[in-house]
Each structure stands twice: as C-alpha cells, then as structure tokens.
Symmetry: D2
Subunit: 252 residues, 4 copies
C-alpha cells in the first residue's frame, strides 16, 4: 500500500492581485508564476519532494519526507522574495487523490482562495519519520512513443501540441477516475503520475484508453520509493528500459 503525502500550494488572493489596480502586464505575470514554480521546485526538491505547476496559482507537491518545519521555512522564503504569499495544506492517504482532497478541504475551511484575510495558512501534519516506509510512493512516468519522429518533426508545432494535450487531458481524467491518481504534464511529451499501488495491467488499461480516445501511443515506467525523488528516478530508469526493449510498461 502507498502512503502519499500531498501539499496543496495556493497563492493567496492571487486573481484579484493580477488586476489591481489595473491588469498587470502579462509577461510579468508569466515570469512571476514560472519563477515562483521554479523556486518551489528547488525548495521542495532539495528535500526530495516534487512540485507540479498545475494551474500555477494552485500547485500540487508530493512531500513525503518534508516535515512541518520545512513547510514553514518554504512559506517564509516565498514571502521574503515575492510580492505574493502562499498557503500550504498537507494531508496523507493511501490514495493520492484522497490526500489532495483532504488537503484542499482543510484549506477551504480556512476561507476562500480570494479571501483577503486568509493569508499564509499552514495546515496539516506531515508524516513523522517512524510512520514512513521505503515504498510509500508509487510514481509512473509516461511518454509518447517516438514523439519526435511521429509528431515534432512531422506536424506543425501546434498540431503536435494538440495531440500531446489531448493525450494528457485523456490520461489525467482516466487515471483520476479509475485509479485515484494525480497526473501532471511536465514538458515535452512527458507525464508524471502519482499513483496508489497499481499493477501492470492497470497501466496497460490506461494506455489503451488513451489510444482509443486520442490515437496517441504512450509507454510508462513505474517505481516505488520513500520520496518523490526516489520513486520518480526509479520510474525514469524503468522508462529507459521501455525505450531500449520496446516494451510498454516496465516496473523498476
């Protein structure tokens, strides 16, 4: 069984800020959002966590091994360097989807994402060290078969993007509805999914569903680990085996 610790990162009252007193320059917003995401990637990543940009104003982090003090420091570091602040809400569950649902519910109880008075909420109790095991996380790393040969070098860049995006939209929904998983596009033709203890058949079903739905062929490497980095790096190695062997699902 997995035991996934998820932290929801929500920018406080961000929407109104972007248009007050007037709409802010889009390139500055894009720069702010992507740098804030990069910094969170480093701050959680240096503790072996992963962060996904998701909607940028609501990001999802996988934080097994990141304790309460670390969360507080990350929140402080953002406050010290950005014109916006973040709320952090953490929850743990065997199902990644449940963990994020609990984390979201706790934060919603504190107030709206656009509540001026709800700033820097810091909620939830990260796992204690003695509650953690070496296979708390299962991560699946998907990519598109021969994306460069089939798409990037063949179609115009937007048509390629549409194919990748439709495949992602299909996979994210299937994996959430059927398998309580959280799937994130991470650039190129790569999707990383945070999963419960799924087996190879379940991944094969997901790949079939996406092919049926969108015509895009995926493959996937899967691994377990104590942290997002451990499981995620194992999944990358397993995906390399798929590439070398021409297989579709590989477990580390």
């Amino acid at each position: 069984m997995t035991n996934t610790q998820i932290t929801l990162v929500q920018l406080d009252n961000y929407g109104p800020w972007t248009v007050t007193p007037n709409p802010r320059r889009e390139v500055d917003l894009q720069t702010l959002q992507s740098r804030l995401y990069a910094d969170l990637s480093q701050l959680f990543g240096t503790r072996d966590g992963y962060v996904f940009f998701t909607r940028f104003d609501n990001m999802v982090a996988v934080t097994n091994g990141v304790d309460a003090e670390d969360h507080a420091r990350i929140q402080e570091s953002i406050r010290n360097r950005y014109p916006v602040t973040v709320s952090l809400s953490t929850a743990t569950a065997p199902s990644p989807a449940d963990a994020l649902a609990h984390a979201t519910a706790r934060l919603q109880e504190e107030g709206s994402a656009q509540d001026e008075d709800r700033t820097e909420a810091l909620l939830g109790a990260p796992l204690e060290d003695d509650e953690r095991t070496d296979d708390d996380l299962q991560i699946a790393h998907f990519d598109v078969n021969d994306a460069t040969g089939e798409y990037t070098d063949e179609l115009d860049a937007f048509s390629t993007f549409i194919h990748i995006e439709q495949a992602y939209a299909s996979l994210m929904r299937h994996m959430h509805e059927e398998h309580d998983s959280l799937s994130f596009f991470v650039g190129g033709d790569n999707i990383i999914a945070i999963c419960p203890a799924m087996d190879a058949a379940a991944y094969r079903d997901a790949i079939d569903a996406v092919r049926d739905d969108t015509g895009v062929d995926l493959k996937v490497g899967v691994a377990r680990g104590a942290t997002a980095h451990d499981a995620g790096m194992g999944a990358k190695h397993a995906l390399e085996v798929c590439r070398e062997e021409g297989t579709v699902v590989e477990f580390e």
Copy 2:
C-alpha cells in the same frame, strides 16, 4: 486583416540531453525549463512580444515588432546562460496557425529536433517596420466564469484542474480547427488565444462549443494591436468589462 508574426522556439536536441548519460533529476529539469521560459518571457516581453510555454521544449512566441537582430541577441543570451541552446524560426501570415506552420516547416527542413548537428538555427525574416500596422494582431483573453466560486473553493484541487484542463483542451482544438487560432493556457483559469480577424459571433460559437463539450462556461475579451502587449492588454481590459457588465464577449 491580421498579420501575425510567430516565432517557434525549439530547444536543440533537448530530449536526449535530459537522459544523458543518465536521467537528470526531475526538479532540476523543471527548474531549468520554467526559468528558461521566464527569461524568454522577459526577453521577448521587453520588446512587447508574448511567449507561451506550450511544451517547454517547444515554445511559441508572438513577435510582431521584434526584429532579426533582437532574435539573434535573444538566442545569444540563452547560450551564454544555460546548458542548452535554442533554435528560432519566424514566419508571418494573416492566419496565426499558418504562420506557425510555416515557421515549423522551415525549422524541420534544417533537421530534426534531435539532430545533434542542428543547433541554433535562426530562420525567417521578421516584418520590416513599414510592413507593420496598428492592428496586425488580434488577441482574445478567455477565463472561466466565477472559477473561484464554482471550482477552486468547491471542488478538490485536482477535480478543479481537470475541469479547467478539459475546457482548455476543447477550446484549443476548436479554435485551431475552426478559426486558425493558437490558444494557450496561461495559469489560473486563463487562456490567451492568438486569432485572425474573428467577430463576436465566432467567439460566441467557441464558448458554446466548450460548454457543450465540457460544461465549463467561458467569457472573453478581445482586442487588436500592433504588438502582442498592445492587443493583449486591450483584451484584458475588455475582459474586465465582461466581469463588470456580466457579458460574455467584449471587444475593446
């Protein structure tokens, strides 16, 4: 009629680099990609262009007003500061989709995205000043009606994300197929579309199509301008009018 200048930004041989000699740490790739995007946003943005992160290894920029020398300098600045290089291919057409298709084709002729010997291609001829007009660009800024009240504060964060993502996947496809437009998710519940000279009825159709397809209600502000910033800022102001007036389509 519009006259959209598009620049395709493609990282050179990036996929192989990410796994050579072994897969690189995901958080470092995420940091690299998002900072490179942020820098391009500033570099093009300071000349009133827009960049969209798209797949991160293939980004799309709207570059009316950015000349050949500027492109060369942007390419040089990335080379001086990153472990990867970028190729830039520029084309112009009344239809944004055509412009990107031409820019892609030119780059593909030079070699594959994974060709080790094709680095720092710099292709295409930006518009001369005397070829430009004040309404060369039409930009539409969409968002989700009451996204915070309907989704962010009500559903768990991933379910909200799924709704936004399905709406985006639907809109990007519809706008490309029906209207030769390039639509990009820019965070939160916002989508920016680079369009030809569409009228209000066409935007209403797009919004209806997305509602039928996904159940998500959009509204949109639209504006024309000589540069992405000019048109984009006009679209933001028009979207503010939608918010104030409760309307669904507003032109600046």
Copy 3:
C-alpha cells in the same frame, strides 16, 4: 568629449524592510538582492545598458540609449515581481561622476532613502536620440595580470580576495578623485570603469598608483561607443590585445 547618461537605482525604504517586523533570513535577502540585480542587468542590458551592483540597495546604471518609457517599464516590471520597489533617477554629463552626483541630488530632494512616502520616484530626462553621438561613452576594462597564476592558484582564497579588494578600493578612489570616473568590481579580477575622455597616460598613472598603493599589477583595455555595450565590448577586445601582446594599456 563624453556624454555619460547615468541612472541611480535605489531600493525604496529597503533597510527598514529587511528588519521588519523581525530581521529576515540572510540567505533570502542575498537571493532577493542578487536576483533583482540580475533582472536589472537583463532589463537595461537588452537595451545595451550596463548595471553595476554597487551596494545592491543602491545600484548604478549606464543608460545611454535607454529612454524615459524604458525606465518606466523597468520600474513597473520590478514592482510586478518583487516585494520591494525601486526609484530611478537619471542625469547626463560629460563627467560620469557629475552625472551620478546630479542624479543622486535629484533623488535626495524627493526624500530620504528611508522615507516611507517616497516610493517609485522616476526622475530626470534621458537623452533624446538627436543629442546622442557614437562616442558618448568611454569604458575601461581592467584586470589583474596573471591573477590565476599569481594569486588564485597560489594563495588561500581569502588572501587572494584581499589583494583583489585592496586593488579595487585603491583604483576606485584614485579614478574618482583624479579622473571623475566610476569604477566597479564585476567579479573575478575584473573592474569596469566609466570614464570621461582620458588618454593612455592617465590610465598608466592609475595603474602605477594602484601598484604603489597595493602591489597589484593591472592592465586595461579602453574603448568608446554610443552605448555601454558598444564601449564595453570594445574595451574587452582591447584587453584581449593586452593579453596577447603583453601590453598594459590598449585602446580599441
């Protein structure tokens, strides 16, 4: 004769901010300061200006060719992405020292650096295009002779640093007192000086004075240009000639 346009960049009320309500974490301040400097380097640099970090809360930019609208946009971009704001004050004079003195005086008239009510001052009138010439700026690029062989590879890192720092402290003072120049340490063993129309003999005197004062041997490349980038790049090339020829002063 030179005609140097200098912009003083002053963080608004920064000192109090760093200790309110309690002293902020030093590494966050260091990160904030160095990234703000990096961004200003890009924002001015993309318009061929130079910025020097100086004291970080007061930076000096050489801005020939950067107009009033550019200054306003740079100020706005910082406001949109940082928790602090900047005031900008610009002045022009044949003497770089005079230009900075005028820019400082204008800003001081508006209020103290720690005046809560003086935020985002934007002062001074940049040069009009028809007032500019191709040799408005003279830039000198100094470095230490064989710094790696004499110091970095021989002494411990702090002793090397002391030598470099004493040489810089000596040069900056001499060049300011004797030649109305503004000299800035830019890393490694490099010092860039913004000068009036000095001749080779004057640079030789400066190098002699630093050797007498500190025992450190410098050499220098000098060039003129319409912008900081033009003059600065010329100076770099002239310094390369010094390296190849074993000379001490070279003009482009």
Copy 4:
C-alpha cells in the same frame, strides 16, 4: 572554541570560458554570476548554511550541518542548470581563516582554476553529526552607524560607496590579519564576519582600527550557533539591540 566548516566554491575554468571564442556580453556574465550565487544561497541556505559572493568565480560558504551528500547534490544541481560547473572543497578548523586555507590548498593540489581537466572536484570531509556542537560558529554582523543619514542621503551615491568600500577593505584586512576572521560585504552598509571565539574587546579594537583608518563608524552584533543561520540570526538580533540602545558591541 569554534569549529568552522568552510566550503570553497570555485567555478571550473571560468575565466577562459568568458572570452571563448570571443568575449561574452557583460550583462549576460553579470546575470549568470549573480543568479548562480542566488541559487547557491538557496541550496546551502535551505540547509542553514551561508554563501558569500566574494569574487563570484570563487565563493566562500559556511557549511556546518551540510553533509557530503548535500554537497554532491548541490554540485549536480548546478551542472544540470548552468553552462558552467563548480568544484567544492570543504575543510574544518577552529580558525575560519585556517579552514578556508586548508580547503583552498586541497583544491589547488587537484589542479589549477584554469585547468580544463579539473572539473567538479568534490573534496574534504564535512563534520559528522556527533562532532558538532551548538556553538561551533561565531558570526559578527557589522553595519555603519546611521549610514542613511550620514552618507546615503547626504553624499552622491559613488562617494557613499567609496566610504563603505574603504571601510570594508580596512575591516576585512584587519579581521583577517589580527583575528583569523573572514569578513564579507553583503550589501547596503552590512558586513558579516565569520570569526573564531573573539571577545568584545577585540571587536572594539577592530571598530577603532576602521575608524582610524577610514573615518567610518561601525557597530556590531555577535552570536554563536550550530549553523551559519543560527549564529547569523543571533548576530542580527544583537545588532538590533545596538540600534535600540546606542551601543557599539552586543553579544546575543
């Protein structure tokens, strides 16, 4: 007694890189250097270490509590995101100056700073946890008395800078020669010194020496701690006491 762990961070073969094949644009070098420094500040800082920019191509970090694995990961993270690599050499001694001298000597034995074949050296053994104590570090935070009122608001910006710089050059030399301390300018009018177990009289002497030498009046807060952050934050609080009480030397 203190037990200071110092890590020398040296960019590999950086000087030649900056001029190969031609001198690189200065603003890009400035951006690269200051962002690399900012990233190291965060990477060490998240583990309670401090980094000082020093010469940018040679940086000094105070790394008590940062272990061998952390150092390796920091080195890897830079390689993954920058066009340059870093060597890291760590040593520990009661005297900060000795620790840095040892770290430098170890790195010099591996090859020159401009040796193409010496890349990513990773040297020295950080302290084990059971070798560490709560007062391994002593940090002193100096600033200039009423720098804003005496200098920033009164003199032109370069004259102020000269005063601050001369005071720093004097203090760094005095503290190194007399007290085996490593002093670093950190922006504004602030200097942070890594010290052995000095007493209040020794700090008073240092302040007197700087006043005699340069006419600039300093004050200082001092604290001990297990990490750079602990000692450094204590020193900041002690300096606040100086400000409130009008005193010149305060120990936490």
